[in-house]
């Protein structure tokens, strides 16, 4: 047994040593912990750690195969996301004990705080004292054993798993019910209690999901889809789109879910033009060789940056919304074009990891597929707060797509209409967020860039928080972004346009004088290299392509992504449908599209008289509409619109 004294060394150094001792098979005793955060985060070697005192937030978080004993109390997020092993706490635990655990045994001899076991997937969380408000909130699996009282609203919105209450059930959460406990279950609980020397003579009430809210009551009837160009027309109040909408709502009696992005006309990058008449410039045969496009993202605070051959990334899209083959093809294309790919929600598949040379791993509120091993093999970590198509809302994955295999990766019951949480259990403000970011850095030895994905809402405030909480870059997603499934009205009417988002973001950084302390990757309806060049001129450091890559890889824009029967094999989990998708071929298609983007960015940059994409700036742009001018504060030059139209006519 080796002793580590936290009065003498900081937690960061202590964790490095504990990892080292773990690898050597040595056990560790931590003295003078004094409720410090992140003790033991990120351990994946078998080890016994004894903490002589109280620990702070995320004790034993993001670990596997560890055995922790804490003599006294622990703060929020005990054992966050732990896989296997055990944590025994002698005193009380703060809020969200056992958050998102994927296995292991957590025992708290005292009381535990609110929302214990939130979004847990498996394992046992046992509290010998009383639980508090909303124990088992949104849990997907595993069991919670409470020997004392349950607290209010136990089992709130739980989708799976069991909660056994030995004391009084104060009140049940929504969609929770009390059922009988059978003998075998009781024996198993007694064996568990014996193992941890917990004495309990009484009986248990068992709280489970009542099954009233796991699926939408009525499914949307399949109709022949309206082509996107008709769908996006707004010429008429009672057009085909509105009629279809009314008809479907008359059948289902609720809001509609659909795939794709908003279809309303909004100010966008196409309302901006280059001041210089680029048609007059001669780019020569190989503009790409004349412009430096290499861009590093995420290194501003000392992490290993993503190395991009051009200021371009793939926007986060989930395995789940998209098929495994599609994610694989996008990964391959990202490698062929030397840019970075992003997992989106729902975990990382081996195929995707192998395909993408640089891969950002995204963490969402449901912690679906989130785990320490994939964190360690990622090239960047990203905390998703929201997305441009539906800022403030969680993801939706209809039952058809929640197959057995997918459910397993995500750690949820198969066949439910998965409505992902819109909030993180442990991020309820900028003050909690800073502790979460630190946890990720601790778990990955401060090597990986940690970014935040922001759907454009209150961009000004969010950007300031991003800087103050020490993120390495922001992925900023405007209203023109798409989604695999979202409320139809939300997509059309919630959020702010991409050009407005980047302006607010830059204003926020200017206001607090930190433009050089944050990088912005702008996304949301970026379609080609021209859009990219304009976004770079406005002040983005890079841009993200989502929908464009899907279309380049065979999507026919039928907007039925949510249904799960995608004819092209992209937005489906049905193996029969997926067969139609050929990753190797589509990867080449996506790659060729990305190379067209490269050529366009290079050509514009060169034509504007520059040799490096970093030289692109606002002075190169004008606004074609009063709205775009008002948003971007660029000079309003309607004359350029005629030139724009003329050019368009010429090209045909």
């Amino acid at each position: 047994m080796v002793t580590i004294d936290l009065a003498k060394i900081p937690v960061r150094e202590a964790n490095e040593r504990i990892r080292q001792y773990g690898a050597e098979g040595q056990d560790v005793e931590v003295i003078n912990p004094d409720a410090r955060h992140h003790i033991g985060v990120g351990l994946t070697a078998e080890i016994n750690v004894k903490i002589r005192g109280s620990a702070g937030y995320f004790c034993a978080g993001l670990t596997d195969k560890v055995h922790f004993e804490v003599d006294n109390n622990v703060g929020w997020g005990l054992g966050d996301n732990i896989y296997n092993g055990s944590v025994v706490v002698g005193g009380n635990a703060g809020a969200i004990a056992g958050v998102a655990i994927r296995g292991a045994e957590l025992v708290i001899r005292g009381n535990m705080g609110s929302r214990a076991g939130q979004v847990m997937k498996a394992g046992t969380l046992c509290c010998a004292g009383n639980a508090n408000f909303m124990a088992g909130y949104m849990m997907y699996g595993g069991r919670i054993i409470i020997l004392g009282d349950s607290g209010e609203r136990v089992g709130e919105d739980m989708a799976g798993g069991e909660i056994y209450v030995g004391g009084e059930v104060h009140s049940l959460g929504s969609d929770a019910q009390i059922v009988d406990v059978d003998g075998a279950e009781l024996d198993d609980i007694r064996a568990f209690l014996d193992r941890y020397e917990l004495k309990f003579k009484g009986t248990f009430k068992k709280v489970v999901n009542a099954g009233k809210n796991l699926r939408y009551a009525t499914s949307e009837r399949q109709v022949r889809s309206i082509p996107f160009f008709t769908f996006s027309g707004e010429t008429d109040y009672w057009n085909a789109k509105i009629q279809e909408d009314l008809y479907i709502k008359s059948q289902i009696g609720r809001y509609r879910i659909r795939g794709y992005g908003g279809a309303r006309e909004l100010p966008h990058l196409s309302d901006l033009a280059f001041k210089k008449d680029l048609s007059q410039s001669d780019h020569g045969p190989d503009p790409v060789s004349k412009v430096n496009m290499y861009t590093e993202i995420g290194g501003i605070n000392g992490a290993t940056p993503l190395k991009l051959s051009m200021p371009v990334m793939i926007a986060p899209m989930s395995y789940g919304a998209l098929s495994r083959s599609t994610k694989q093809a996008i990964g391959m294309a990202s490698s062929l074009s030397s840019i970075a790919e992003n997992t989106g929600e729902g975990g990382m598949s081996d195929a995707q990891r192998d395909a993408a040379a640089q891969l950002i791993f995204q963490c969402l509120g449901g912690r679906l597929g989130w785990n320490i091993y994939d964190m360690k093999r990622a090239n960047g970590l990203e905390i998703y707060i929201s997305q441009g198509a539906k800022p403030g809302f969680g993801g939706q994955l209809m039952a058809k797509k929640v197959t057995k295999e997918l459910a397993e990766i995500r750690g949820i019951p198969p066949g439910i209409d998965l409505r992902s949480p819109s909030r993180h259990p442990d991020i309820l403000g900028a003050d909690d967020l800073v502790i979460k970011v630190e946890e990720f850095r601790e778990a990955t030895s401060y090597k990986l860039p940690v970014s935040v994905k922001l759907g454009a809402g209150r961009v000004r405030d969010d950007m300031k928080i991003a800087v103050k909480d020490g993120f390495d870059f922001v992925e900023l997603d405007g209203m023109q972004g798409s989604t695999g499934a979202g409320g139809a009205e939300v997509m059309e009417y919630v959020g702010i346009p991409t050009v407005a988002a980047i302006m607010e973001a830059l204003d926020a950084l200017e206001e607090i004088g930190v433009r050089d302390k944050m990088q912005i990757v702008l996304m949301g309806g970026i379609r080609d290299g021209i859009d990219a060049a304009k976004a770079l001129c406005l002040g983005s450091d890079a841009v993200g392509y989502g929908t464009s890559t899907i279309i380049a890889g065979g999507c026919i824009a039928c907007m039925q992504c949510h249904v799960g029967q995608c004819v092209t094999g992209i937005a489906t989990q049905d193996p029969e449908h997926e067969k139609r998708y050929q990753p190797a071929i589509e990867a080449q298609n996506i790659h060729r599209f990305l190379e067209s983007v490269r050529w366009q960015i290079a050509t514009v940059t060169h034509a504007l008289g520059y040799t490096d994409v970093k030289q692109l700036n606002r002075d190169d742009l004008v606004a074609l509409t009063p709205e775009a001018a008002a948003i971007t504060r660029l000079p309003y030059e309607p004359g350029y619109r005629d030139r724009h139209l003329e050019l368009k006519a010429k090209v045909g």
Binding site: A7, I31, N32, D34, A35, R36, H37, R52, G53, S54, G56, Y57, D71, N72, N73, G75, W76, G91, N92, G94, A95, N111, G113, S114, R115, N132, F133, G151, E152, L428, G429, A430, D431, V434, I435, E438, D461, K464, I465, K468, E511, I512
Partner: protein
């Protein structure tokens, strides 16, 4: 977006310990708010005397502000006993026996008031706990109890006047520190404004302070005022309030914002995180308590 702390020593145990304890506790949770730090400290009250503290800045700006303050004090029949220009503050002790609210509103016209009280003195500024201590010699304060706050500025600027604690504008000796967000802020503020209360900031913490002080001035006990605050205020909050002889807390029903407390024979300490409490007792595991959602309580110096 912040960290809060409060401490009250029983009996005569406070003295220099209160300020020192708050500095340590806030240093312990500075990660929750690196932008600004503040202290509300309760010292000895002398009969008929009021302590006032203002933001006046530096140089010429400060000279004119102090002149304006002294002129308004004279108009309000408040005679200066002692005064001092320290950091960006002008601190003055006056003899005054009139209506505090009217006096306070009048003084607000002269300069930015930080606090007014018989025993309360608020020190707050941009910077970390030790930096603010260095500027204003916080560790030299003798007090019985106090509150502290570290702030991460989001919606409003990083300015000294947006730092916490907040004084209940118009009411002597009431201060508040708050972590969270009041979502029915404007509704509640308009209600109070209709009754002629004035607000100096758009900060929701000032609202809580005025809301509670108004109840107290109607003779309602602090316990009772805290109880109604949980019904009347919407949003997520954990806050601490202090008066001349009491400290109290309230926590919202959703238990979104953290709070943890420790009591022994000598003191009561409350903080956002246990790591702050442990700063007072290094190397010692504490028997702490996390207040349940929707709860409130008070401690009085006499009990």
């Amino acid at each position: 977006m912040c960290g809060i702390a409060g401490i009250m020593y029983r009996g005569e145990g406070g003295g220099l310990h209160v300020a020192k304890a708050l500095i340590d506790m806030l240093d312990g949770c500075q990660h929750r708010g690196p932008d600004s730090t503040g202290f509300a400290l309760y010292g000895q009250a002398a009969k008929g005397e009021l302590k006032l503290r203002f933001f006046v800045g530096q140089g010429d700006e400060a000279v004119t502000a102090v002149e304006r303050i002294q002129k308004t004090l004279a108009e309000q029949h408040a005679s200066i006993i002692e005064d001092e220009h320290i950091g960006d503050n002008y601190r003055v002790v006056v003899q005054f026996s009139g209506d505090v609210r009217k006096f306070a509103y009048a003084m607000e016209q002269a300069a930015k008031v930080i606090s007014i009280g018989e025993s309360l003195d608020i020190v707050k500024d941009v910077g970390k706990a030790h930096e603010v201590d260095e500027r204003y010699a916080v560790h030299k304060f003798t007090s019985t109890h106090g509150l502290g706050h570290v702030r991460l500025a989001t919606e409003s600027d990083v300015k000294p006047e947006s730092a916490h604690p907040f004084w209940a504008t118009g009411f002597a000796d009431v201060a508040i520190v708050h972590n969270g967000q009041i979502t029915n802020y404007w509704k509640m503020r308009r209600r109070l404004e209709q009754r002629d209360f004035e607000f100096r900031t758009d900060n929701d913490s000032e609202l809580i302070a005025v809301y509670l002080a108004d109840k107290l001035s109607q003779g309602i006990a602090l316990q009772e005022a805290l109880k109604t605050s949980i019904d009347d205020l919407d949003g997520t909050f954990s806050f601490l309030v202090s008066t001349k002889d009491e400290i109290g807390y309230a926590k919202d029903r959703l238990a979104v914002k953290p709070m943890i407390m420790y009591e022994n024979d000598d003191l009561i300490a409350v903080a956002s995180e246990e790591v702050s409490l442990n700063r007072l007792f290094p190397g010692q595991a504490l028997n702490t308590k996390e207040p349940p959602p929707g709860s409130y309580n008070t401690w009085s110096r006499s009990t």
